[in-house]
């Protein structure tokens, strides 16, 4: 089990290969469909993103509300392919990895290779289990979107699998 800590560096990426089981610690930024649409508008308008993209990990997720005294409710990956049309421009801005479920388009895979980045998958539908790995959470952008807001979450030993690595190795292509 490889351990990585976000923000990620080029050196971190070299050691990751499609199929590796990893644990992630550090900061993740959640964003799903509606937040991606808004970030694409920011990029188009040459405005800064709501977080520092360099080395960052975007987690395709929309959590359930936190019960009192808990950092977050249930949280797990949503289908990544819905964000395929947005992902290349975010990798271009310095995002080092995205975290979701399911396969990606060839355009996303090309961007991952070009920017020496990665795509990770986590277990879909295991959101109670994954929530235990979240230590803190706060909304940093688009609170009006509710669950689709961008949350900055701090995780410890969050389990994932490398699905596409920086050389373009793709676990789904190999399996299917």
């Amino acid at each position: 089990m490889k351990k990585i800590t976000a923000p990620l560096t080029d050196k971190d990426m070299q050691g990751l290969h499609a199929g590796d089981q990893i644990v992630i610690s550090g900061i993740l930024y959640t964003a799903r469909d509606a937040a991606h649409k808004k970030m694409a508008e920011l990029i188009k308008g040459k405005k800064p993103l709501p977080f520092n993209a360099k080395g960052s990990i975007i987690f395709y997720a929309g959590p359930t509300p936190a019960r009192p005294g808990k950092p977050i409710g249930a949280i797990g990956p949503t289908t990544a392919k819905r964000m395929d049309s947005f992902a290349p421009q975010l990798y271009a801005k310095g995002v080092k990895a995205t975290l979701g479920k399911g396969a990606r388009s060839k355009e996303v895979k090309a961007a991952i290779k070009k920017y020496r980045a990665a795509y990770f998958v986590a277990t879909g539908g295991a959101a109670a289990l994954l929530a235990k790995k979240v230590k803190t959470a706060k909304v940093i952008a688009y609170p009006e979107l509710g669950t689709e807001a961008i949350y900055q979450i701090e995780v410890k030993d969050f389990p994932a699998i490398v699905a596409i690595d920086s050389k373009g190795g793709d676990i789904f292509n190999e399996k299917l």
Binding site: G19, Q21, A34, A61, G62, P63, T64, P65, A66, R67, G73, A74, I75, G76, T78, T79, K81, K101, G102, A103, V121, T123, G124, G125, A126, A127, A128, L129, A131, K132, L145, G146, T147, E148, P159, I161, I171, F172, K175, L176
Partner: protein
């Protein structure tokens, strides 16, 4: 006439939602445990272990099984000797709003499909009502996640095609869903009726207990054949490879027009949260 208050229906629906968000039905738990024992692929087995562990954490800590706490879909069979006192649909939507608020469940419904503003309380529910003999109300409730629902498909076949063509379409739909639908999946199939009826019975078939089959022998045979073929695709748990791609294939049929043969495939994820209550 037996009188049943809308308030009673409201309380029942609220309690079903608050149960299914944190507790999977026993047959689904058993199917996942058995899949975990049977799966040979390393990553597939590790996904299934997460799913089995997730069941316990969700139950013990009252954390939703999945962050997508779904669209509430209700099939209600209302006995014709029942008189409902109060506004049925208002009661149902009040139950949904209250349960999603009190259970700290995610509000995943937008009020308009184009403008896409969140309704804020997970309403409205999708409700199918059917008038049946008797003096009871049967409520079948499913909280349907978006990811798997998106992988569903419908096709209007020529009536001259055989079972083989239908099976091909189902397999193609499962392959297109691939890792996106959170396998191991449950496949609901509706054959016959009209465009809308096929989709409706496909969804209704999802309520059937895992391991049981359609009462018509030729349909039961098709279900078994499909489950075997789906589990040979190699998609596996989480789409990461393996032999457990589906836990069940459930099919319902309805008579159809001489010109028609509609087939709907409704894909359901492993987080198959549903319950049936009779009042």
């Amino acid at each position: 006439m037996r009188k049943i208050s809308a308030e009673k229906i409201k309380e029942t629906i609220e309690s079903i939602i608050l149960e299914v968000a944190f507790n999977l039905p026993e047959d689904v738990c058993a199917a996942l445990e058995s899949a975990h024992k049977k799966e040979a692929s390393k990553l597939g087995k590790s996904i299934l272990k997460d799913l089995v562990d997730n069941i316990k954490v969700a139950k013990d800590e009252k954390l939703p099984l999945c962050q997508d706490t779904g669209f509430v879909v209700i099939f209600m069979e209302i006995g014709q000797e029942v008189q409902i006192e109060g506004d049925l649909h208002k009661a149902i939507n009040e139950a949904v709003a209250k349960a999603y608020q009190e259970g700290y469940l995610r509000k995943s419904i937008v009020s308009d499909p184009i403008q896409r503003k969140n309704s804020g309380d997970n309403t409205p529910a999708i409700v199918y009502t059917e008038i049946v003999p008797g003096d009871k109300i049967k409520i079948k409730l499913l909280t349907k996640g978006g990811g798997a629902e998106n992988c569903s498909a419908i096709r209007m076949f020529n009536p001259t095609v055989g079972a083989e063509e239908i099976e091909k379409f189902v397999i193609e739909t499962v392959k297109n869903a691939g890792p996106n639908a959170c396998p191991p999946i449950i496949v609901g199939i509706g054959i016959g009726g009209t465009f809308d009826k096929a989709a409706q019975i496909a969804k209704k078939s999802l309520f059937r207990k895992i391991g049981t089959h359609n009462s018509k022998p030729h349909i039961a045979k098709m279900e078994e054949s499909l489950l075997g073929k789906i589990n040979k695709t190699g998609i596996g748990p989480g789409g990461l490879g393996g032999k457990i791609t589906a836990l069940a294939v459930n099919t319902e049929t309805f008579p159809c027009h001489i010109a028609s043969l509609p087939v709907a495939v409704n894909i359901e994820c492993h987080s198959h949260r549903h319950k049936e209550v009779t009042i």
